[in-house]
């Protein structure tokens, strides 16, 4: 449904009177199947939004090709526009307008005559449960209500593909869960969904397949479970901050502990994140006693030790050397 190859975009940035070129997207390839929820996971500034804006015909790519719902992005952007919906992160409504007025107008922009547009608006209001506030000013909506209107506007013409830029950023947990429900409902209706997110749990729970993007390049792609399976075994997190002082440990002590544990045969890799060490091992059950022993031999007392299954953050860490969580 979406095929992208070698898509690139750089921006001119002015810094200290010098014009430099910043490569926002440095050649990305991916394919999205029909009826799939496909996620672009990455930190802020990774190139997620730039990619999305290129695919939505808002900015011209510097290079590369894309086909969306059978239309060529570079040769026939007008066709692409007819077949897609796009919901920007910032939304896109006047505060003094109302949901109903905006929905009717949106349907008419896609070519519906007035009476059809009114019917479509009414049906969309029902489907997204906007009834309660559809005739109130947009500026009176809660964050979740406004987000639902944004998405309703994006799909009123039943596009084949819908692009959602960070659909749940800034929403409370309840509204987020609701939004996930709406996205799944759209997928069940046969739409293909391409969304960006910097939430690990969102990519994990909502997306059928994800691409991890960092610094303008795709570093991993697959289903969330496949990606996590690449990180075999368990993860052990050793918190070196003493539980009673709550203070950060000495950098020297961190370094020593990291060195000791990296040297252990059963530790595949060891990453330092703030005051914790993240160890990748085959089995946490057998490794934890050995970790304790190795540390106490050097008279290092960890504040806490826990184990868990690998998460997408571990995948991100393994691919980029950085962590996505706690940002």
């Amino acid at each position: 449904m979406i095929e992208v190859s070698g898509l690139r975009k750089s921006f001119k940035a002015r810094r200290k009177r010098k014009v430099t070129s910043v490569e926002a997207v440095r050649g990305v390839d991916f394919a999205v199947q029909r009826g799939e929820i496909f996620g672009f996971l990455g930190p802020n500034g990774a190139g997620k939004t730039t990619t999305l804006r290129m695919l939505a015909t808002l900015i011209h790519p510097d290079g590369g090709d894309a086909t969306i719902a059978g239309a060529d992005l570079r040769r026939s952007p007008a066709q692409v526009r007819e077949r897609i919906g796009f919901v920007a992160q910032a939304g896109g409504t006047y505060g003094q307008s109302t949901a109903r007025r905006d929905l009717v107008h949106q349907a008419r922009m896609y070519g519906s005559p007035k009476s059809t547009a009114k019917g479509l608006a009414e049906a969309t209001i029902k489907a997204f449960q906007l009834d309660e506030f559809a005739d109130r000013r947009n500026s009176t909506y809660s964050g979740g209500e406004r987000r639902r209107l944004d998405i309703a506007l994006g799909v009123i013409h039943s596009p084949q593909v819908i692009f959602l830029d960070e659909p749940t950023t800034g929403l409370d947990p309840q509204s987020r869960a609701r939004m996930w429900q709406e996205v799944r409902r759209l997928r069940d209706q046969g739409m293909t969904i391409f969304l960006t997110t910097h939430y690990l749990d969102e990519a994990d729970a909502l997306c059928d397949r994800i691409s991890i993007i960092d610094a303008g390049l795709i570093v991993a792609e697959g289903t969330p479970s496949d990606l996590k399976r690449e990180i075999s075994g368990d993860v052990i997190i050793v918190d070196l901050a003493a539980s009673d002082t709550a203070g950060a440990p000495e950098p020297a002590a961190m370094l020593e502990a990291s060195k000791i544990l990296s040297d252990q045969a059963y530790v595949h890799s060891c990453e330092t994140i703030d005051s914790t060490l993240r160890l990748y091992v085959d089995s946490a059950a057998t490794a934890i006693p050995q970790v304790m022993r190795a540390l106490s031999n050097k008279e290092i007392e960890p504040g806490a030790i826990e184990s868990r299954r690998p998460s997408l953050d571990d995948v991100f860490l393994a691919k980029t050397g950085r962590t996505l969580a706690h940002r």
């Binding site: 808002l58 897609i84 796009f86 910032a90 003094q96 922009m109």
Partner: protein, 251 residues
């Protein structure tokens, strides 16, 4: 055909926002009405007009030019607000003609300023100004072209200086000399000769001269046609230039 439909659609939507928010329209009327009520008495004594009807005949054409110039030029703020709220982006990912989007918005400004001008005329009528309907229509036509020039210029500035406070200063820097050199505050007839020569290059000065002739009962005067031709040419150029701007990337 699609262009005409999309222009009309955008006009309906943008004008609908105004119709549903009459308070904002009323507020936009405050300034011209205030000038009309408080500036004309000054003018009456300074210019030695024999009656209020005569004073309005002198001042209303200036006020029309000022409204065309300032309302047009401040349209850039509304564009920046629409961009900031993501409305323009939402429109631009639909099949809506981007030129139609621009023309519909410009048309909304023309109609809004036209409406203000009609209200001003009605108030002036109450105070004794008399004008044939055909002259009023001609004046409104000149006004519409001024608004098109002002809005296009303002959009041009707004898209190159996407910063609210800087845009405000820039618009004032542009509007003040144009306004002064159109003689809308002090007539150019009292200006030194070199200043009048400079004003020859100001299309709004031609517009002001044409407007005054119309209100003075000389709708067929040469200066009216000269002003009309200059404004029409400039308005056409402004609309073409700003629609090019609109079909480019806007981020």
């Amino acid at each position: 055909m699609k262009l005409a439909r999309d222009t009309w659609l955008t006009f309906q939507y943008e004008a609908g926002q105004l119709v549903h928010n009459p308070v904002s329209v009323a507020v936009s009327l405050l300034q011209p009405i205030t000038y009309l009520l408080f500036f004309t008495p000054f003018l009456k004594s300074v210019m030695g007009a024999s009656s209020y009807g005569d004073a309005y005949r002198i001042y209303v054409p200036s006020l029309f030019v000022a409204m065309g110039l300032y309302s047009g030029l401040f349209a850039g703020f509304a564009l920046l607000a629409a961009i900031r709220q993501g409305v323009i982006t939402r429109f631009r990912v639909t099949p809506l003609s981007r030129v139609g989007l621009l023309l519909g918005t410009e048309l909304m400004w023309v109609v809004l300023v036209g409406f203000q001008a009609v209200i001003v005329t009605v108030v002036a009528f109450i105070f004794g100004m008399r004008l044939p309907l055909i002259s009023l229509l001609l004046a409104l036509l000149l006004l519409a072209m001024m608004v098109l020039i002002g809005v296009s210029l303002s959009y041009f500035l707004a898209l190159f200086v996407p910063n609210q406070s800087l845009l405000g200063n820039l618009i004032n820097a542009v509007a003040t000399p144009i306004g002064l050199l159109a003689g809308i505050l002090i007539p150019l007839s009292v200006a030194p000769l070199w200043l009048r020569d400079v004003a020859l290059w100001n299309p709004f000065a031609w517009a002001a001269n044409g407007m005054r002739a119309i209100f003075g009962g000389h709708a067929g005067a040469q200066v009216v046609w000269e002003g009309g031709v200059i404004l029409a040419g400039l308005a056409a150029m402004a609309v073409v230039a700003s629609s090019r701007l609109f079909t480019r990337e806007i981020s």
